[in-house]
Subunit: 252 residues, 2 copies
């Protein structure tokens, strides 16, 4: 080997923990498992597992791949249906009484139609969806309460600024359904008329497109929409993102 070896210092165990969010009956919900062994026996915890490190210090999986693998192991959901993102690293000494661990937390946004397909994974026999409203964060195992709190802050931000809400709706969706995602995440009602205008802006900006069909939903059928994949978005953005900002003309 042409390089010096890495120094022989003590290493922490590294895990990946998953914050799997979905909407269950209109409520923002999180996938939690009930621990079957100590420590924190019987408490709710985030699903997760150890990062796979290749033998001999090489190879293994990336952090993103580890998160995707955990997702599949814990839920059986295909990666393509789920939006993944890194939340951050948590590594205070004492967070795991068994020894020094640091965890990389990932959030996963699961559209509701896919959420019903979760099957309990091998090491998550007691996985269940828990509504985050009324979840007592202090009762979670390890430091998972703090991690969930950070994830909720981030999720609320992302749903507003980026199009994360689109990862939590079924695939054609009505304006009402998308609005209900925002309402669930922020836990407050939004004005339907104003939200429709926001949706129109998403269409102008190329994040969403209308599909011609309508869906019969009780009374008047609702228009249907579909998220535009990021790959296609670049090609269509020209109309609005250029030549719209700035002043158009000013009288003397």
């Amino acid at each position: 080997m042409p390089y010096p070896f890495l120094p022989e210092v003590a290493r922490p165990a590294v895990t990946v923990d998953m914050l799997v969010f979905t909407l269950m009956e209109g409520a923002l919900s999180l996938l939690l498992i009930e621990r079957g062994q100590p420590p924190f026996l019987g408490r709710l915890a985030l699903p997760g597992g150890f990062l796979h490190v290749g033998a001999g210090g090489q190879g293994g999986e990336s952090l993103d791949d580890a998160a995707a693998r955990e997702l599949v192991e814990e839920t059986g959901l295909p990666r393509a249906q789920v939006t993944l993102g890194q939340l951050g690293a948590f590594g205070a000494p004492g967070r795991d009484p068994r020894g020094r661990t640091i965890t990389i937390a990932y959030f996963a946004l699961v559209p509701p139609h896919a959420a019903h397909g979760v099957r309990a994974g091998s090491d998550a026999a007691n996985a269940r969806w828990v509504p985050v409203a009324g979840l007592a964060l202090g009762t979670l195992a390890f430091d998972h309460g703090a991690i969930v709190a950070a994830a909720l802050t981030r999720l609320r931000h992302d749903v507003d600024r980026s199009g994360s809400a689109l990862a939590l709706v079924p695939e054609p969706f009505t304006a009402r359904e998308l609005r209900e995602v925002h309402e669930a995440v922020h836990h407050r009602a939004l004005d339907a008329a104003n939200f429709d205008r926001r949706l129109r802006r998403l269409i102008e900006d190329g994040y969403v497109e209308a599909v011609p069909e309508r869906r019969a939903t009780g009374r008047r059928p609702a228009r249907l929409f579909r998220a535009v994949p990021a790959e296609l978005r670049a090609a269509r953005t020209s109309a609005r993102s250029s030549g719209r900002r700035g002043r158009s003309g000013r009288p003397a």
Copy 2:
């Protein structure tokens, strides 16, 4: 020990890398070191080091503490003068040819008057400030180019949304100085008049307060301002954050 031990799986080495930003002569600059050993001998790299893990798998330092320690070791700057925040974890296999490592990246914002006080640390004999404009990210060691790119995106966002710009100005500052921070981070000129209005809003919102003195700066002396510490902010926020949003009244 009442608990089962942690499983005996291979562990990656865990490091903390620092993105130390400041303004040098009006240009957003990053503290980089020139590597003195292979791999990447002679290339520029982020300062950083191994996370300290206590003996016997317990104790040691938190991630935040590790970042603060690295900051002091590499720069000699007191923690109190520097704003620290976690950027995220990077851990692709192959990022370090010596073996599997993951790094937790932290950014540190150093006000310019403190930046001149950096002294080269023991293992960073070749530390230097490098302007980020014109920095060839591809030439950095390891995956540090990607980390810097992520940090710049984050920094630009934080300077706009949160008050991160205040961490990059000297301690009383003029409107011009704060504007120059924004201009350096975004690398484009901003309208002074509009920026002054933004500063007025920061004052109303309690993030900044005026100090009575003025500073002679060539021509007309400029007003001076000071950032309000977060602890004091809560007590004064009432005026604007309540009772200002929402409509005030509407004719029939």
